[in-house]
Symmetry: C2
Subunit: 188 residues, 2 copies
DNA sequence: CGATAAGCGGGGACTGTCTCCGTTTAGTGC
DNA sequence: GCACTAAACGGAGACAGTCCCCGCTTATCG
């Protein structure tokens, strides 16, 4: 997983600058921020950007891995603090909020749970699925969640709920209301 | 609503050809089909396309109004055939299926229920909201639907569910399962 | 049949993606 | 220090898409 050969100093510098600039750009302009523009703002040529990150997906993922990891960690914390059913509900809430608040993350999380996409097996997809699986299984064991749903279903539905709240443009606390509706439907 | 002055014959011909070609193109390539390409395939210049349909939205809407109207009509039929609660559930099913099966329609329906968009007041948005309002109110009166949801919420959630099923790429009858989960959560 | 305004259409400016390849430079052994 | 080499750079340019502008064409009407 880690670098076999250490990167050259200039390469590493550019890589890091790109990541920083990309996170800003995606936050500012959403997932469709101009890549050449990101390269320009990072003070590198577009060739350099595309060498480090062959696809928009790759850059998006690299820019947000830490946030994804944080969500996965959060799943563990909630599992330790709350009863299984509540832990799942609370995590879904935080997941949806994150999906919407951090512009650009929605596209990333969406592709992470898309079936049939080649890019399906990525680091963040694995993290998310792992976290969801633990919470879902615990909730099912505790009898707080119907047994006919898979972790991936829960992730997809969360993505759907985030999409729905997005349509409401944050009107009337829609995220919490919609998540509540979802968890109502998921209850055993 | 109707044309104040009748269109010139050539204008009407082009308008109609564009509509036909656009429906095909959107069905084939999704909502992002190239507009210049549609113009070319219809045998007109791009200027002509943009004059008739100033935005992609406008073309999308014009190409699919009939399908939207059909859905609205279907709402009426279901309301007459089934008890209020079931009518709503069945309609949501058909709505979601349509949203996914007809490529390009998702974008249109999505923007129809987006809050804060300038394009919000369009013919298809009005139809959808009307149909949803009737079904939702009837279901609430019959005690089959929670009273704390608005018709627009239902439409948005349906859109979310369609998005979720789309992520599953039609695997395992996901549409019906997800709609069932949604309606479970919506029950009074 | 002409006049005329409605309508046409494609050239071109612009923005974005992504590749290719000549040039630069970090790292290494001496 | 110095020279060598492979790694890395960067930006020009091919390509695709959007959208506007404006000189030309043509349907329609008196």
């Amino acid at each position: 997983m880690t670098q076999v050969k250490p990167m050259r100093a200039d390469a590493r510098r550019n890589y890091e600058r790109l990541l920083k600039v990309a996170a800003e750009a995606f936050a500012e302009h959403g997932e469709r921020a101009s890549l050449d523009d990101i390269a320009k703002r990072a003070g590198v040529g577009s060739g350099t950007l595309y060498r480090h990150f062959p696809t928009r997906q790759a850059l998006l993922e690299a820019a947000y891995v830490d946030r994804i990891e944080a969500l996965a960690v959060r799943a563990g914390e909630l599992a330790a603090e709350l009863p299984p059913g509540e832990a799942l509900v609370e995590w879904l809430n935080e997941l949806c909020v994150g999906t919407i608040q951090v512009r650009g993350m929605k596209a990333l999380l969406g592709s992470a749970v898309t079936d049939g996409s080649v890019a399906a097996v990525t680091a963040c997809a694995t993290s998310m699925k792992g976290a969801a699986t633990r919470l879902v299984e615990a909730a099912q064991e505790a009898g707080a969640l119907r047994r006919d749903v898979e972790p991936i279903d829960v992730l997809r539905l969360a993505h759907g709920v985030a999409t729905a709240s997005e349509l409401a443009n944050g009107q009337g606390e829609s995220i919490r209301r919609y998540v509540a509706l979802l968890t109502e439907g998921l209850r055993a």
